[in-house]
């Protein structure tokens, strides 16, 4: 038929844009405005790499990208931690167990867990940024022997906005991982740190020649954290960030998530600082 020879694909592709309706198994409120949904991953299972995201759809309301915050070993359910900020995320947060949402994914690049083996690991998380890093932290803790020192640095707005607080306590209880938490402001009852998250970098020891840092949080925080880390001697190619732009298709067809020369849904969202450093300073990129 016709110019078939020119077309690069021979197998009829499926409609990747259609969500798979799945049942919400559990909905759990994490914070005042943040919920964790556990979704039945169905027969295909929740196979993903730490750092990847899914597109979640609420019937009639819309679809948004949400990073996967579950343990990669648990393939029976998709776990997503969502903050209610817009109409779609609010609708997702409002779903009850037993209801259905649409899922498609996983998409995007992942945290460099394998490349980082043999190195010290620094996880720098701001706010909800802990959610996309959680699968990486869980993986690192499970494969603890493959890494050097591990530190989890967490910044939050205030003590009540601290995500996964119980889990942070559990991690902190281990002797082989350092967990440091700071908040922007706190009352008297808070016995932890108050201050900007990158200050925590000074509190941990790591070998700058053998350190991988994985940073996730608001773009300003990631930019400054990455700069601090590089100033302290960590190689820019070993510092990884998870960036965010508008996303509609998540399969590199719609052009919305362009950042610098990349399409974030395909080339990101996790990218090395060495690749994005020059773009981070450009306004309105």
């Amino acid at each position: 038929m016709g110019a078939e020879g020119n077309v690069l694909v021979s197998v009829p592709p499926k409609e990747h844009m259609a969500p798979l309706p799945v049942r919400v198994l559990k909905s759990h409120r994490e914070l005042a405005d943040t919920w964790t949904l556990e979704l039945d991953s169905g027969p295909l299972g929740a196979k993903f790499a730490p750092g990847q995201f899914n597109m979640l759809y609420v019937f009639g309301v819309g679809e948004i990208p949400v990073s996967i915050s579950g343990d990669p070993l648990n393939t029976s359910r998709w776990i997503h931690t969502i903050r209610s900020v817009g109409l779609a995320s609010a609708a997702l947060c409002a779903t009850k167990s037993g209801e259905m949402v649409g899922v498609r994914g996983p998409y995007g690049t992942c945290w460099p867990m394998e490349a980082a083996e043999g190195n010290d690991l620094l996880f720098v998380c701001g706010g909800l940024g802990l959610a996309p890093l959680r699968p990486a932290i869980l993986t690192a803790l499970r494969l603890r022997e493959r890494y050097g020192r591990i530190a989890v640095l967490v910044g939050a707005r205030e003590p009540t906005a601290l995500l996964f607080e119980k889990e942070l306590h559990v991690w902190r209880g281990r002797f082989d991982v350092q967990v440091e938490v700071t908040v922007d402001s706190a009352g008297r009852g808070w016995f932890g740190e108050v201050g900007w998250v990158t200050r925590l970098i000074d509190h941990v020891r790591f070998d700058t020649d053998f350190t991988y840092a994985m940073v996730c949080g608001p773009e300003i925080m990631m930019r400054l954290a990455a700069r601090d880390l590089v100033e302290r001697g960590v190689a820019a190619e070993n510092v990884f960030l998870s960036l965010e732009r508008n996303m509609k298709c998540a399969i590199a067809l719609c052009g919305h998530c362009q950042y610098g020369t990349t399409l974030l849904c395909r080339d990101g969202a996790v990218l090395p600082y060495s690749r994005v450093a020059s773009w981070l300073g450009i306004r309105e990129l």
Partner: protein
């Protein structure tokens, strides 16, 4: 037990300080200890000292009526608290309290000022160290004010 000047020389805040100056300022220093909850300084009180933290954490707080004191920042081992000793009117701008058991070096501001006045090179060195602390704290404060952690969905 370590000699006071050794402690000063090995503290990150004084790293690189000329050993003559270490000896010179040791005369203004003393070891102090606070228990968790102790008030180290009160807003408005004369600021006669500053603290170089050796262990534990202190909170810089502000008191507001009808609400619990707000912690503006914390400082831990390796950091320094207090720069009101440098500038008139030498009063604390905030409350300082110990969050944990705190061990620190307390420096007598008047004593150190006199030494700095006498030796402007020392004065310049001290001013630089405190200016850097002030600048980084100011920057961090600005970022905290941005209330950045919204919106990542």
């Amino acid at each position: 037990m370590k000699d006071l000047s050794e402690i000063i020389a090995s503290h990150p805040f004084f790293s690189g300080l000329d050993s003559n100056y270490v000896d010179l300022i040791t005369g203004c220093a003393r070891n102090v200890k606070f228990s968790a909850g102790d008030v180290i300084a009160r807003e408005g009180q004369p600021s006669t000292e500053f603290y170089v933290l050796r262990h534990g954490r202190v909170a810089v707080e502000i008191n507001a009526p009808a609400r619990a004191p707000l912690v503006l920042r914390t400082a831990s081992e390796g950091e320094v608290v207090g720069w009101s000793w440098i500038f008139p009117p030498h009063r604390w701008q905030f409350d300082i309290s110990a969050v944990t058991l705190v061990r620190a070096l307390a420096f007598d501001g008047k004593c150190l000022r006199a030494k700095c006045d006498a030796d402007p090179k020392l004065g310049y060195d001290m001013m630089r160290r405190f200016a850097q602390v002030a600048a980084s704290q100011l920057q961090a404060t600005r970022l905290q004010l941005l209330d950045l952690y919204g919106g990542r969905g």
